[in-house]
C-alpha cells in the first residue's frame, strides 16, 4: 500500500508482454492492497486525466538548477530517451540520488492528495526545493514513478479493458458491470473502490454514468454474403459520439472518450430538460450549417468542445445539433438487451413524442438519424461512395438482430467509410519521435509543388511499419540538409502517398489548405519527387468534394 508497491507493479507490468501474466499481476496487486490505494492505482493506471503537477520542461530546468547541469546536455539525453521524467530519473541515478537503505515510503493517497497538490501551489523556488527534498527521500526504485506522476505522464501498457477484467475476475462479477462502474469520472476514494467491487448491483449508484459504448468494426467484404435486409443503414457522421443521459431530472452529456461535456454545450442541457421522460440516448453531436443543411467542419466542433461556458454569440454562430441513433434506457429501464429492430421502433416512437409534447420547440436541436434503404449491396456501395455530398464519411451498417453490447465486438456494427482522399507528397522535414519512438526520426512533414517550389502541406506520424521506419530513419540521417534543434530538413527525394479524410481552406497554413487525419498510406519508392502532386491538385480536390 505504497509507492514502493506501485513501483513494483509498474516494473512487473512493464516487463511482460503476456496478457495473461499482466492479468495475474493486476489481480494479485488489487487483492493484496487496501481500498484507498487500489482506487488511486486505478486512477493512475486508467490514466485518463492524470493531473500534471509540473511540466516536463520545468522538471528539466529544476534538475539543471539544482545540480548545475547544462540544459543542452539534458536535451541531448532527451533525444535518446524521449521522456522527460525518465531522463531526469536516469540523471538522478547517475548522481546517486535516492537512498537505497532506509527509504521513506509514502502512500499513493498521501502523495496524490496531499504532497503533490501542496507542492503545486508553491512558488517556483520553493517548488524546486521541495522537489529536491522528495528526490532525496525516495528510494531509487521509486524515482521514475514519482517523476512520471509529478509530470502527469504516468502510463503503462495495460488497457482499461484489462483492468476491468482483472477486477471482474477478482470478485467474480460480470465484466460488463465493472466496465459500467468504471465509466465516467472515477474519483479515487476507498468508497469508490468499495463500490467498484460491490457484489450487489445497485442501479441507483450508476445514476450519472454512461453505458459502455458499442463500437463499430471496419467493413468487411464478407458481410455482403448476407442478405441486405439483415441490416439497418445510417450515415456515418464526422462529429463526436455522445451518450445523452437524463435521469431523475439531471442531464449529463458523455463523450466516447468518457468526458463529461455539459459545460461546453449548455444549450443541449437546457433543451434536454424540456423532455419529460428519463432516458439514455446514443448519438452524434455536430455543429450544423442550417442554411446548407450540412454539418460544419470538425474544427468548429473542436472549438465548441474546448470552450467551456460558451457565450450566446458562439452558441448562435456555431449552432449544434444532436442526432439520436439508439435508445439504451427509458424511464430507468435498461433497454440494451432488446434487439436493434425493437430499439429503433422504441426510439422513433419516443423521440417524436418528446418533440411533440415539449413546451418549447426543440426540433431544431434534436434530430433522429435517418435510415437508408439500399435494395442491394451495390446500392449500399453507391451510397457510401457519394456520402461526401451530404457531409458524411460513409455508412454505419448495423445488425438488426443484435443487442447493444459493449466494446468493439465483431459483427454488430460496421463502419463502411468512403475511400480517403490521397495526394503524393515529398518528404521535406523530419523530427525525432518521443516515447516509444525516441531516437528515431518518425514525425514527418510533406510538401506539394507550387511554381517549382515545394510547399509544406501536412505532417504525419503513422502508417509506416517498423522496418520502414528504420529504413527511413537511416535515409534521413544520411540525407540531412540542415538541423534546427530536433528537426532536420532533408533532401527532397522521397515521395509518399498521404491519405486524409477531409480538406479545407486554412489561413493558418502557408499552403492555404489543411487536411484532416493525414497519414502515410504508401512509400512511393517508384515515384520521382518531381512527379509528386501539386497544390493546384489539392485545391481541385477541395472544390470537387461537394
Amino acid at each position: 500500500m505504497s509507492l514502493n508497491k506501485f513501483s513494483e507493479l509498474f516494473l512487473n507490468l512493464d516487463s511482460s508482454n503476456s496478457i495473461n501474466k499482466k492479468l495475474d499481476i493486476l489481480k494479485n496487486y488489487f487483492a493484496t492492497n487496501d481500498y484507498l490505494e487500489n482506487s488511486w492505482s486505478i486512477y493512475l493506471l486508467t490514466g485518463k486525466k492524470n493531473k500534471r503537477f509540473i511540466s516536463g520542461k520545468l522538471l528539466k530546468s529544476f534538475f539543471s538548477d539544482i545540480y548545475e547541469f547544462p540544459l543542452w546536455l539534458i536535451d541531448t539525453c532527451y533525444l535518446r530517451v524521449g521522456d522527460s521524467a525518465e531522463v531526469i530519473t536516469l540523471l538522478l541515478n547517475s548522481k546517486n540520488i535516492g537512498k537505497n537503505k532506509v527509504n521513506k515510503d509514502i502512500s499513493l493517497d498521501e502523495l496524490l492528495s496531499k504532497t503533490l497538490p501542496e507542492l503545486a501551489i508553491l512558488k517556483q523556488d520553493e517548488k524546486k526545493l521541495r522537489v529536491k527534498e522528495i528526490w532525496a527521500e525516495l528510494a531509487k526504485e521509486n524515482l521514475l514513478i514519482f517523476n512520471k506522476i509529478l509530470t502527469g505522464t504516468f502510463r503503462v501498457g495495460v488497457s482499461i479493458g484489462l483492468i476491468t477484467k482483472s477486477i471482474a475476475k477478482l470478485i467474480n462479477l460480470d465484466e460488463a458491470i465493472i466496465s459500467h462502474r468504471l465509466m465516467g469520472d472515477f474519483e479515487p476514494s476507498a468508497k469508490s473502490y468499495k463500490f467498484l467491487i460491490n457484489n450487489k448491483i445497485d442501479l441507483e449508484e450508476l445514476n450519472y454514468k454512461p453505458y459502455p459504448f458499442l463500437l463499430a468494426n471496419t467493413f468487411e467484404k464478407k458481410i455482403t454474403e448476407e442478405s441486405i435486409n439483415n441490416f439497418q443503414y445510417e450515415w456515418k457522421w464526422d462529429g463526436i459520439r455522445i451518450q445523452l443521459i437524463k435521469r431523475s431530472g439531471k442531464v449529463s452529456i458523455w463523450t466516447r472518450g468518457q468526458d463529461l461535456v455539459n459545460r461546453s454545450f449548455p444549450e443541449l442541457v437546457e433543451n434536454t430538460l424540456y423532455i419529460k421522460d428519463d432516458f439514455v440516448v446514443d448519438g452524434e453531436l455536430l455543429v450544423w450549417n442550417f442554411e446548407d443543411e450540412l454539418p460544419m467542419n470538425f474544427s468548429f466542433l473542436q472549438k465548441r468542445i474546448n470552450r467551456k461556458a460558451p457565450s450566446k454569440s458562439i452558441q448562435n454562430n456555431l449552432p449544434i445539433i444532436f442526432i439520436a441513433y439508439d435508445l439504451l434506457e427509458l424511464k430507468g429501464e435498461d433497454k440494451r438487451e432488446l434487439n436493434l429492430g425493437n430499439r429503433r421502433i422504441n426510439l422513433e416512437k419516443n423521440f417524436h413524442k418528446w418533440i411533440n409534447e415539449s413546451e418549447k420547440d426543440i426540433s431544431n436541436i434534436f434530430k433522429i438519424s435517418n435510415l437508408l434503404f439500399p435494395k442491394n449491396w451495390e446500392e449500399a456501395e453507391n451510397l457510401k461512395n457519394n456520402s461526401r455530398e451530404n457531409g458524411t464519411e460513409g455508412l454505419v451498417i448495423k445488425n438488426k438482430n443484435s443487442i447493444y453490447s459493449s466494446g468493439r465486438k465483431k459483427g454488430i456494427w460496421w463502419k463502411y467509410k468512403v475511400d480517403p482522399m490521397q495526394l503524393d507528397a515529398v518528404l521535406i522535414y523530419a523530427k525525432g519521435g518521443s516515447g516509444k519512438r525516441a531516437g528515431l526520426y518518425t514525425d514527418y512533414s510533406f510538401a506539394l509543388w507550387k511554381d517549382g517550389q515545394l510547399i509544406k502541406f501536412a505532417s504525419a506520424y503513422s502508417g509506416l511499419n517498423n522496418a520502414e521506419i528504420k529504413d527511413l530513419d537511416k535515409w534521413i540521417r544520411k540525407n540531412t540538409i540542415e538541423k534546427f534543434g530536433p528537426v532536420r530538413s532533408v533532401k527532397p527525394e522521397m515521395v509518399f502517398e498521404i491519405s486524409f479524410e477531409n480538406i479545407q481552406v486554412s489561413n493558418r497554413h502557408k499552403s492555404g489548405i489543411s487536411v484532416r487525419f493525414p497519414r502515410i498510406s504508401k512509400w512511393r519508392k517508384d515515384k520521382n519527387f518531381k512527379d509528386a502532386d501539386t497544390l493546384a491538385t489539392a485545391h481541385k480536390l477541395m472544390m470537387n468534394k461537394l
Binding site: S15, F69, L73, V81, D83, L90, S94, G157, A438, G439
Partner: protein
Amino acid sequence: MIKDSSNLIKYTDKGLYCELADTWIDPHKPVNRALITHAHMDHFTFGCNEYISTYETAMILKERIGSEINIKTCEYGKEFKINGINISFHPSGHILGSSQIKFKFAEERWLITGDFKRQKDETCKEFEKVKTDYLISESTFGLPIFKWEETQKTAFDISKWINSAPNKTSLLFCYSLGKAQRLLNELSKTNFKNNIFTHTTIYKMNKCYKKLGIDICDTNKFDKTQDIDEFKGGLVLLPPTLYKRSFLKKFKEIQTGFASGWMSIRALRKRSGYDKGFAISDHADWEDILKTITESEAKNVFFIMEIVKL
C-alpha cells in the same frame, strides 16, 4: 616522410590509419597490415595480408572464422616496431584478448582505446591505465544517462527473473562472444543452480575461453531442433540474431530477456520486444569514459561514434 606526429593517426574511409607504420587499426576494408583490437566481427575484415593481435584474440578469431588468416601475436605491454614506430598492446577490459593500442613516435604518444570498459570482469584482463598525449576513444554510451549497476546486482536480477518463472523457460539473448561468458561467470557466483543451455555459437566460445584458462561453468549445448518448452525453470542463452518470431513462435512457455547496455532506456526496451531488459554492457559508461580521459592525461581527445544497433 612526415615528421610531425600531430597527425600520426588519421581517420580514413577504411578506418584508423597510421601512415608512418603503414598500418590500419580494425579496418573495415581489406588492407595490407591490420592491428586488431579484439575479436568481435565488426572490428575484423577478411582479406588483409597480415593481422596482428594478442594471442587470445588470435585464438578466438581462428575459432570463429577458421585458421586461414596470417595472424601474428604479441604480448600485452611489450613494445615492437613497425617502420620505426613503437607499438604496444594493453588490456582494455572489453572482452578476452581485447586491447588498447599505443603508438609512440618522436616523443609523442597516441593511444587508441578500442572498445573498453572499467567494470570488473573476471573473464578478461582488467583495463590498464595508459598515459598518452593523443587519445582516440569510443563513446557508444557517451551520455550521462548511462550508469551501470554493479555486475553482481545484474546477475542477481537475472537469476531472480529466471526463478520467478519456474514453469517457464527463460531465454536470455546476448552477444555470443564476451557478454555470454561474462554472464555465465557472474551467474555461477550467485548460487544459480538451474540448468543452463547455450546455443552452439556460445558453446563454442565457452570452450575457447576455457582453453585460454578462463573459468566458465559447464552448460548443455542447445541447437534449434530441441524443444525449448522442455527446459522448464532453465536458462537458455542465445545470440540476438535468433530473436525472430518464426523461431520463438513454436514455444509457448517462455519468457525472453536481452542483456545489453541499451536496455537501460525504456523506449529501446519496449521497441526491442523482449519481455525484460538487463542493462549490462562491455563498454564504459559516462563516468568511466570521463575518468579514462582524465587518467590518460591526454591533451587531445578524439571520439569515434558508433551507430546504435539492436
